[in-house]
């Protein structure tokens, strides 16, 4: 597995525990009560999309559904709102994974942005059908900030795979 398909670097295999840990950590970040402050990225969506793009065989719609239910309870929103949005996000990210990974990071982020926006649109539609109020256009800002985090997230989440295979303790330099 390479960081992108055009890269020559071979990565170490991913550890399942690390995927679980990052998803859990993203959930914790999402639990921080920022209230109605606009522009806070949806960390779970970011990490879920990342793993769906990089490991579509390990992380997929089932993970999206479970994380979505957790977010629904934590956010005090309607059960199924985040679940539906994350499942659609996971489907799109895993489906487009083969295409996205051919591009450099900036263009990968451009591919991910419409997915995040569509996810928020799905949430908006489900809640507006349920008779909720419109949260204002600033709410969509969080998709853009999440997209900005695609670049650092790639390096952070691939760090364990960037490590060398065997450490030579007697290496001179």
């Amino acid at each position: 597995m390479q960081p992108t398909h055009s890269s020559r670097r071979i990565l170490r295999p991913v550890s399942n525990w690390f995927i679980l840990l990052t998803l859990f950590f993203a959930l914790l970040l999402n639990l921080i009560p920022f209230g109605r402050l606009p522009g806070i990225p949806d960390w779970v969506a970011l990490v879920l999309a990342f793993w769906c793009v990089h490991q579509p065989l390990k992380v997929g719609m089932a993970a999206g559904f479970v994380l979505g239910l957790a977010m629904d309870v934590a956010d005090a929103s309607v059960m199924g709102q985040h679940a539906l949005a994350y499942v659609l996000l996971a489907f799109a990210a895993a489906g487009l994974s083969r295409r996205i990974l051919w591009f450099p990071l900036a263009q990968q982020a451009l591919h991910v942005l419409p997915m995040f926006l569509a996810m928020q649109l799905v949430m908006l539609l489900t809640r507006m059908l349920g008779g909720a109020e419109f949260p204002g256009l600033l709410w969509f800002l969080s998709s853009f900030t999440a997209t900005l985090f695609w670049y650092p997230a790639t390096y952070v989440l691939l760090t364990p795979q960037f490590q060398p295979e065997d450490k030579d303790v007697n290496r001179p330099i």
């Binding site: 559904f65 239910l69 059960m79």
Partner: protein
């Protein structure tokens, strides 16, 4: 050697196709959405998950708490002095009422006894801290730090030092959810303090409220104070709720558009008082008739059937 009409077994087993999985999970989510939005049957799931996740939730609230504590630590002394002076002034201003309140209450009880009226329910409250506003951008709710372990139950009114904030809608063991007055789903029966005109005040989102279904020539002015009328059996009568800021009497609509803003610090954090439940209201007259006289009802239906 494959038999006609049978595909060869796959090399890699990857479970059902993505589209099938998508359809499965989407339909599952839709079922959940309908069950929660329409029938409200998933409260027990929410209760279980929220209780299990409570320590995590408190832990994640720490950075925000620490930041606000640090901000308070840096508050200037002059600000604190000014605040303390303001509190003293307000205490003195209300001292006249406070000192005589016990006497007035006693007098009120005696007079009510003389007039043979139902005694007013004594009000008790429990102080709770507003922990945080929920992240859900589609509704306006806050979480307070008292739950069913502290005797809170759904339906109790929540007030601060100026007026009504909202109502407890969901109770967890250690926390509870308060629906704010400005939420679109929240409605509260009020009366205009100046002339006793009764109306229903509903949340309009964006921090405002709307006085609904008032005729275009209704007697409401900008600056009127709205207080609870107590007709719903939830809120005690006389609690200040909101102030009228705009009255739009467009004759093309049959109703006036009356915009109000809440008096209390709705959507601001701090301490709040959860009032105890009011005693149940006496049943409505027609309910009473039906309840007391099933035989008469039976004969009436029989007569109708004939």
């Amino acid at each position: 050697m494959s038999v006609v009409g049978h595909a060869p077994p796959p090399f890699f087993k990857r479970g059902p196709a993505p589209l099938v999985r998508l359809l499965f999970f989407v339909s599952l989510s839709l079922v959940l959405l309908v069950a929660d939005l329409r029938f409200r049957t998933l409260e027990w799931v929410r209760l279980a998950v929220a209780t299990a996740a409570w320590p995590l939730q408190r832990a994640t609230g720490m950075p925000i708490d620490a930041a606000s504590d640090f901000g308070a630590y840096l508050a200037r002394q002059s600000t604190l002095l000014k605040e303390s002076e303001e509190f003293h002034r307000r205490q003195l201003e209300t001292a006249n009422l406070l000192l005589r309140q016990r006497h007035l209450e006693q007098e009120n009880i005696r007079l009510r006894a003389l007039l043979d009226m139902r005694a007013r329910q004594p009000v008790e409250g429990r102080i709770a801290e507003i922990l945080y506003a929920t992240r859900d951008p589609f509704s306006r709710r806050v979480i307070i730090d008292k739950g069913s372990q502290h005797g809170i139950s759904a339906g109790q009114a929540v007030v601060d030092d100026v007026g009504v904030i909202g109502q407890v809608v969901r109770v967890f063991p250690l926390t509870s959810e308060v629906l704010l007055l400005t939420d679109k789903d929240q409605a509260i029966p009020v009366e205009v303090q100046r002339n006793g005109l009764r109306a229903i005040l509903a949340g309009a989102g964006a921090g405002t409220m709307e006085l609904r279904f008032q005729a275009a020539n209704t007697e409401v002015q900008v600056g009127d104070i709205l207080v609870t009328s107590g007709l719903d059996g939830v809120y005690l009568p006389g609690l200040p709720v909101a102030k009228v800021v705009k009255v739009d009497r467009d004759s093309t609509h049959s109703f006036a558009r009356i915009t109000c803003v809440p008096l209390a610090g709705v959507e601001r954090n701090g301490l709040a008082l959860v009032l105890s439940r009011r005693a149940a209201m006496p049943p409505q007259p027609d309910d009473l008739e039906n309840a007391d006289d099933p035989a008469a009802q039976g004969t009436r239906t029989k007569r109708k059937a004939r």
